[in-house]
Symmetry: C2
Subunit: 313 residues, 2 copies
């Protein structure tokens, strides 16, 4: 199947074509740019939500419940889930995925895990392209789920229009999130496991941290804090409402356009940086190792070496 | 003071010159390439150790004790500590730093926190350059401390010759580290808070995980697992021995050269990628926004836009 056929099938709602397109994106197939160029005009209307937070906070079960609610409204949902790449993790730790298994059988729900292939910048880029492919396929909602609190992962979530940060009580999550710099990207906070004895404490902790941030920037809207239970579904309806309200307020204020422009710009910048990275890597692999020999012998410093290769390319 | 004067002073052991050089590196000062080109020939002999692991595992107190041991041998020690960038964290959360305060007064110990300035690739790059400056200044040991388990942070630690992964018992750290893909970069595991009731359990958990990895790659050496107590210093001597043994075995096997070459190569590649990123960003800021306008209107897809700008540069 060539790229054209594939995109046509995807646009007509062929699930397998979507799966193949995302695999091509993940494998950095040379057809990717052409495919995206075909699909791009059919994107832009979906509700996009990023979920982030430390592992164990229950993001997957919240997302599973949220999908149920969107499905009740007959909306098509796509999920791009980003796991850090590890030879150990590949297929080994699937606990969180199991909760999503019901939806794997629903053909109006498309769930896809993306490995952290390629290099750092590639993580956000690849998952964004996968999201675009889902939109072109016809999903009304695209959810980006990221595990962990590293910056590469944060970028994935923060490219979405609305970012939900999930924390669990009693794990010092708020302080960790603060340290990792993810608190300021969240539009909505979700304290999961609201039946936990320290749930209210966690809420108070988040609130007081947000208030410090709010003092620094009084014009920024105060994010909502929602208490949820991924296991029973409690609070998820409220979470969904807040997500939709947030989206509506972004549209109204013009902030949505600003965010989307910033996210597109970010993509354009990192795609070019990735390309340069690949080109340098290629050159160094192609036996052009004399220059690295000089670096190793300390005759040439690595910045000068890099500048030289950059100029040559 | 110009760049030349500054590097001369640094090479003669002037502490303030070192501090200023690192600030220039952090600020991406245009003098940086020249400074590094002067300093680079004076580097390459130091023992370099990366410490990573989740916040709260006690890395800083272990490092503080380790510095004591190196100081007893009259070795000069440099520490590059990487905190994720956050408007909240800047100067706000310094708990971990306090434990290092004794060493701040010792002029043979140079501790420096690096913010996550610039972009992703820049985190590993900047801290590596700071480490080079410390080596040129005359430190015998350079320790890279990273907080968190994100990939950007992992890169910082993994560029060191020996990587120590610190975990604490009872926090599910092993599973988290596994998920985050940091287990396979560690040469030495350090289970801190060895007096914790679940310390042995944590050790067993790490061991069994390592054994799975070992089966996949039987040629890889099995990392040591050391039990430590940052508060009393228990086990830190053993940790230091293992670090030195690891370095010696790397030298003997030729692996040290391989690692250092790989790390230099990684630096050269990301420096070029960063440069491209900055150039694209500049171009987009310089009012060259027509192309982004077309992306926003979905007339042009972001990959094509990026390729176009790349070609122009």
């Amino acid at each position: 199947m060539n790229g054209n056929e594939l995109t046509e099938r995807l646009l007509s709602g062929d699930r397998r074509a979507l799966a193949r397109v995302i695999s091509k994106i993940e494998d950095e197939d040379p057809q990717t740019p052409d495919i995206i160029s075909e699909l791009y005009q059919h994107t832009g209307a979906a509700l996009s939500v990023g979920f982030t937070g430390p592992p164990g906070a229950g993001k997957s079960s919240i997302i599973a419940k949220l999908i149920e609610l969107f499905r009740e409204e007959d909306k098509k949902v796509g999920v791009v889930s980003v796991d850090p790449s590890s030879p150990f993790t590949k297929g080994a730790i699937l606990g969180d995925r199991i909760r999503l298994v019901d939806h794997f059988l629903d053909k109006n729900v498309f769930i896809r895990s993306m490995g952290n292939r390629g290099h750092l910048g590639g993580l956000a880029g690849g998952s964004r392209l996968a999201g675009l492919a889902m939109e072109a396929y016809g999903t009304d909602v695209v959810i980006y789920e990221t595990m962990g609190v590293g910056q590469g992962e944060v970028e994935v979530a923060s490219a979405a229009d609305t970012v939900v940060l999930c924390l669990q009580p009693g794990a010092g999550d708020a302080v960790q999130a603060l340290k990792a710099g993810v608190m300021e990207i969240a539009d909505i906070f979700c304290i999961n496991k609201s039946d936990h004895p320290q749930a209210n404490e966690a809420k108070a902790e988040v609130r007081s941290t947000l208030e410090i941030g709010h003092e620094l920037d009084p014009d920024a809207p105060m994010p909502s804090i929602i208490m949820t239970r991924g296991d029973t579904g409690e609070g998820i309806e409220e979470l969904k409402e807040k997500i939709e309200e947030h989206r509506a307020s972004l549209e109204k204020s013009g902030e949505l356009e600003k965010r989307q422009r910033a996210s597109q710009r970010e993509f354009v910048v990192s795609w070019a940086a990735n390309k340069m990275q690949n080109k340098v890597q290629e050159r160094l692999q192609r036996g052009d190792t004399k220059i690295m020999e000089r670096v190793y012998k300390r005759e040439l410093d690595p910045i000068s070496a890099s500048e030289k290769i950059f100029e040559e390319i």
